[in-house]
Amino acid sequence: MQDNATIIEPSMLDIEKIRRDFPILERTVYGYPLVYLDNAATTQKPEQVLKAMDDYYHTINSNVHRGVHYLSQQATEAYEAARHTVADFINAAHTHEIIFTRGTSEAINLVAACFGKTELRPGDSILVSAVEHHSNIVPWQLIGEEKGATLKVIPVDENGDLIIDELDHLLKGVKIVAVNYVSNSLGGINPIREIIAAAHRHGIPVLVDAAQAVQHLTVDVQELDADFLAFSSHKIYGPTGFGILYGKESWLNKLPPYQGGGEMIKTVTFEKTTYNDLPYKFEAGTPDMAGAIGLAAAIGYVQELGISNIQQAEHSLMTYALDAMREIPNLRFVGAADATHRAGVISFLVGDIHPFDMGEILDKQGIAVRTGHHCAQPVMDRYCIPGTVRASLAIYNNRTDIDRLTAGIRKAVKLLA
């Protein structure tokens, strides 16, 4: 395999050192050392993240914002510092453009519900792409149904590339565009700069689903000129149950509030309630303090490694993996076949082996991949397949993982074919 491999630059990162930050990688499954290649579903968490949350609970745990006392002030400072870390990470113009949510799904639901409430009329449409995750389809269907608006779809070609030649035409009657940066089912990096530019030419705002992007690529909301952008903590080495909505100040001020509760209001009487300023207007109820602090630690971890170093290391491993997998007879990639247009995800099938069978035999060898439609049924329908096997990478994966994967696939083929 090595001989005809694409030339791979040496990584700036010491992957073996990184692996030691993730003790779960040392565990075994069915007697085999774990090979964790289900990172697009959720990543593992480094000790630094777990320690930050533990420290929070051991030293300053307290409800934020409304407290005069010392712990509450410490907690509030740590919590707001986390917001600052996130703003800095995606280069938001203002810290108050960062809204804390439960995850990407909630962030998209928030925008769909609030945008829909004031901006959608019967006959309007919402433009998504053919490679979206359900979380970027169903919220728009729900609000569309309520408001009489319908979905339009940017089509995808055989290679998994979005077809954007007709975009200007497609954008007619569209009130908002919602597309992912990187597809979770195929791994393709979508041309969101072109999509945003086209939408803005027509004065249409764009929501970017960056759930599969922020952990692999540099994401700069100002450079992209994204109007909204969402991602999940648990997919970027942070804790579960937490996520981010970025929104341009002007849009966030314009939208009505989402949920009601403490902190999102200024004054409450039974007759009338006035809402708080950004970002609190969109944060009802006691926030997930530990979640915010955990995500900030995860981002700190990523920043310390350097996102471009991560990108380079993952690209190198991706190239290695694609080259090795190409050698397996009857293996076909679903989506782009080269590493350059891809981030994190390799979706594939071998002959007519059912992905579920492949996944089970890999699992028996201690290799965790995901099988099925990856919450992107329309993508599977597009390719007329029941699903794929998906191996997805994170910064702690090494060539041993890939070698184990390819050997595992070969073994599965021997058993199943």
């Binding site: 992905p355 579920f356 089970e360």
Partner: protein, 142 residues
């Protein structure tokens, strides 16, 4: 053979198979052999809800006994189905409702029966039991 005896036989067969590869090879072999369900029965009404693999199940009732044929698009599931049918087919509704399905656990494939897996096998067991209950009450009435 009773349902219990059928299961014991399967368990004994599997005892001969040493490691997991051999067990899977055997199940996969069975999956490849399973007589395909009659094409007319591979229809949506016979499709059992299951997220990862699809399972079709058809039932016949003859002379007080139930006979099953089934199919799945995933071969391991299909192999397990073939064992399940061997165990449960050609029995009375009462025998089926009373039966404890233990062999899947014992041969080490219990994860296929995990409610969290949603792969169709558990749903299939439930479906078979439901048929049995239905036919049992029917036969009691008549």
């Amino acid at each position: 053979m009773t349902i219990k005896e059928q299961q014991d036989e399967i368990i004994a067969d599997f005892d001969f198979l040493g490691n997991w590869d051999d067990k899977y090879e055997y199940i996969i072999q069975l999956g490849k052999e399973l007589p395909l369900i009659d094409a007319q029965y591979k229809k949506d009404e016979n499709l059992i809800k299951g997220c990862q693999s699809r399972v079709w199940l058809h039932v016949d009732y003859r002379e007080g006994k139930l006979f099953f044929t089934a199919e799945s698009d995933a071969v391991i599931t299909k192999g397990l189905i073939s064992l399940l049918i061997k165990v449960l087919s050609d029995h009375t509704p009462k025998e089926i409702t009373d039966a404890q399905i233990t062999f899947i656990d014992t041969i080490g494939l219990s994860s296929h029966l995990s409610p969290t897996r949603s792969n169709g096998l558990l749903s299939m067991v439930k479906q078979i039991k439901m048929y049995a209950v239905a036919y049992q009450s029917k036969s009691l009435q008549s």
